[in-house]
């Protein structure tokens, strides 16, 4: 493989991974903007998407589209149960307690997945076959096109929801100032629930579209969740363009680093990027610096 096609291949895989990171990042951003907490269990929704789809596909012999729809629904239900049982009772808890609870939930979901489905890795069959296309020297699988297509669709729907629907604007109002939002008649509790619903749905979808490319197992949630978090940190906790750029940037840097520096340190590169961003510019690359009331 000559250098330019190698570069094209790295860029392609970097962008497709980056799209997934961006989608996972949306999940973090939406919940954080509505509630102020970081949902450590976000990665587990991603894992559940892939694993549940495989379960429905293989064990219940459902066709692909119903399996996906059912998997997303079930993951969303898990998100709702999680919000009701663990988050809602503790709206006024210390930040440390909320962090611990979401970590506990992430561990619990991972452990439950391991009990139900074992430790093996599973492969989801690609949505439309395996015949590659060749563009600019890079091998593009149909699954890559699905990833880009569905990601763009979700990004557009996201933007439309938050900017053009009443519910979306109500959620943004909650993010700015939940007290003021409740004073104008917005039911903050419903908005919080909705944020979990959307995050779980987007997260599980992200898990489903990447699963045919990178096998899925009970513990993919940790790494994917963390990388989604890195994406949203780079993007400044926005549920829009910032996170998309953050995700793509992370995917590219990771892929190029793995290709040209060292493949086994791929994950370390992502975390070094995280530490650098947190040390130097924690508000992200695309936001103005914020001040906080003491």
């Amino acid at each position: 493989m000559d250098n330019s096609s190698q570069l094209a291949q790295y860029i392609l895989s970097g962008l497709s991974n980056g799209a997934i990171y961006a989608l996972i990042g949306f999940g973090f951003a939406i919940i954080h903007n509505a509630t102020g907490i970081i949902n450590f269990a976000q990665g587990e929704f991603v894992m559940l998407g892939g694993m549940l789809t495989i379960f429905f596909l293989v064990f219940l012999q459902l066709p692909l589209v119903p399996a996906i729809a059912l998997a997303i629904t079930l993951a969303t239900v898990v998100g709702i149960v999680f919000e009701r049982l663990a988050i809602r009772p503790l709206k006024n808890a210390k930040p440390l307690s909320l962090i611990i609870i979401t970590i506990g939930a992430s561990i619990f979901l991972r452990g439950a997945a391991m009990l139900i489905w074992g430790k093996d890795t599973h492969a989801l069959p690609p949505f439309s076959g395996n015949d590659p296309l060749y563009i600019a020297g890079a091998t593009i699988l149909p699954q890559h096109l699905w990833i880009f297509g569905i990601s763009i669709l979700i990004i557009i729907l996201n933007k439309a929801f938050f900017n053009f629907t009443i519910t979306g604007k109500a959620m943004r109002a909650c993010a700015y100032n939940s007290y003021a939002a409740s004073l104008v008649g917005i039911d903050v509790k419903i908005m919080v629930l909705l944020s979990f619903v959307i995050s779980a749905a987007i997260g599980s979808m992200a898990g489903i579209i990447i699963a045919p490319l990178t096998m899925t197992s009970y513990d993919v949630g940790i790494m994917l969740g963390l990388k989604g978090f890195i994406a949203v940190i780079i993007g400044g906790m926005s549920s829009g363009l910032g996170t998309v750029l953050g995700g793509l940037l992370l995917g590219l840097l990771e892929s190029l680093g793995a290709g040209y520096i060292s493949a086994s340190y791929k994950d370390a590169i992502a975390f070094i990027i995280l530490l650098l961003i947190l040390f130097v510019r924690p508000e992200g690359l695309f936001k103005k610096k914020e001040t906080q009331r003491v």
Binding site: I38, I99, G104, A105, G111, L226, Y265, L274
Partner: protein
């Protein structure tokens, strides 16, 4: 009796119980378990200094444990350095790394600090795994020599028990002393409200880094002890899962409570033994315990026990006044 004197007395009782226990357990497998409980208690107390007193969350503490173990292991196997000196160097290097990384990392708060420490922990884990030339990579590092004082070699459960627990008791005493001092009060002030503490003159930035460094130093020493008693180490023990296990020990025992850390360490060390048949349930149980304890008993099991004690005492007093 003053509160401080009472704490020292409680500690002396605890230490006496710890030192006397092997006499009742001659040659039992349980002695081996207690050695592990000792190491985990030391780690949990070290983490408690950071998490319970200063309120700074660290999800990467296994990294310092591993760093201490690997530096000790590498220095003694590849460079034939005396184990005690290697332990000193391991502690010094880990403390140095913690000091350097502490300043930027502890500027962060809450979730960002959690993620940064998590990232740091994972970077260290990947390094342990990939620098095969030094660490032996995933297959681990073996042939680490035992510690010895003169002709007394620490290579069996009995000797190791006393070696580990003397260190652990020392760390516990250090923590009790720290909590009663000006520094301990300053740390708790930072925990409650960093801004208010700084307004009152506490140099929060430096103090947080200092306690982070001390915590890392103690964890590294625990790692070194672990390496020399196990004589074999591999990266698996120093990953994200163990970091979370340490946080779980501190939380379920009780933030800020030394004996709570012991309780948490004991429970979590014995859990795999108790669950032998249902071995795979351990992860699910950790998650559940974290959630339930944080929701319903935020002070940890120690606070639960003291609530129980007060309840029983009031019932007894009630009966006495009725009689």
């Amino acid at each position: 009796m003053t509160k401080e004197k009472r704490q020292i007395l409680i500690f002396l009782f605890f230490a006496a119980a710890v030192l006397a226990t092997p006499l009742f357990l001659k040659g039992s497998y349980f002695l081996n378990v207690l050695v592990f409980i000792g190491i985990n208690t030391m780690l949990a107390v070290a983490l408690n200094l950071l998490l319970g007193y200063a309120g700074q969350i660290s999800l990467g503490h296994a990294a310092f444990f591993g760093l201490g173990a690997y530096i000790s292991g590498i220095l003694t196997t590849r460079f034939a350095i005396d184990p005690w000196q290697a332990m000193g160097l391991a502690g010094f290097c880990s403390a140095g790394l913690a000091f350097v990384i502490g300043f930027p990392i502890l500027k962060l708060k809450g979730h960002y600090l959690a993620m940064a420490t998590l990232g740091f922990g994972i970077i260290m884990y990947i390094t342990f795994n990939e620098t095969v030339g030094w660490t032996g990579g995933p297959s681990g590092l073996s042939g680490i020599p035992n510690l010895h004082i003169g002709s007394l070699i620490f290579d069996n459960d009995w000797n190791n028990y006393y070696l580990i627990w003397i260190f652990t008791l020392g760390v516990m005493l250090l923590s009790i002393n720290l909590s009663q001092s000006r520094i301990g009060r300053a740390l708790r002030a930072i925990h409650d409200s960093e801004v208010a503490a700084r307004v009152m003159g506490v140099n929060a930035r430096v103090l947080k880094v200092q306690i982070f460094t001390v915590s890392a130093l103690l964890s590294a020493i625990a790692g070194s002890l672990y390496a020399h008693t196990m004589t074999f180490i591999s990266p698996v023990a120093f990953g994200f899962n163990f970091s979370v296990e340490l946080v779980t020990m501190v939380i379920i025992g009780g933030l800020g409570s030394i004996y709570g850390s012991f309780l948490g360490a004991a429970i979590l060390t014995m859990l795999p033994e108790l669950l032998r048949v249902f071995k795979d349930f351990d992860i699910v149980l950790y998650g559940l315990m974290l959630i339930l304890i944080t929701m319903y008993m935020p002070g940890g099991l120690i606070s639960g026990l003291s609530m129980l004690a007060k309840f029983v005492a009031s019932k007894i007093r009630g009966k006495q006044s009725n009689a």
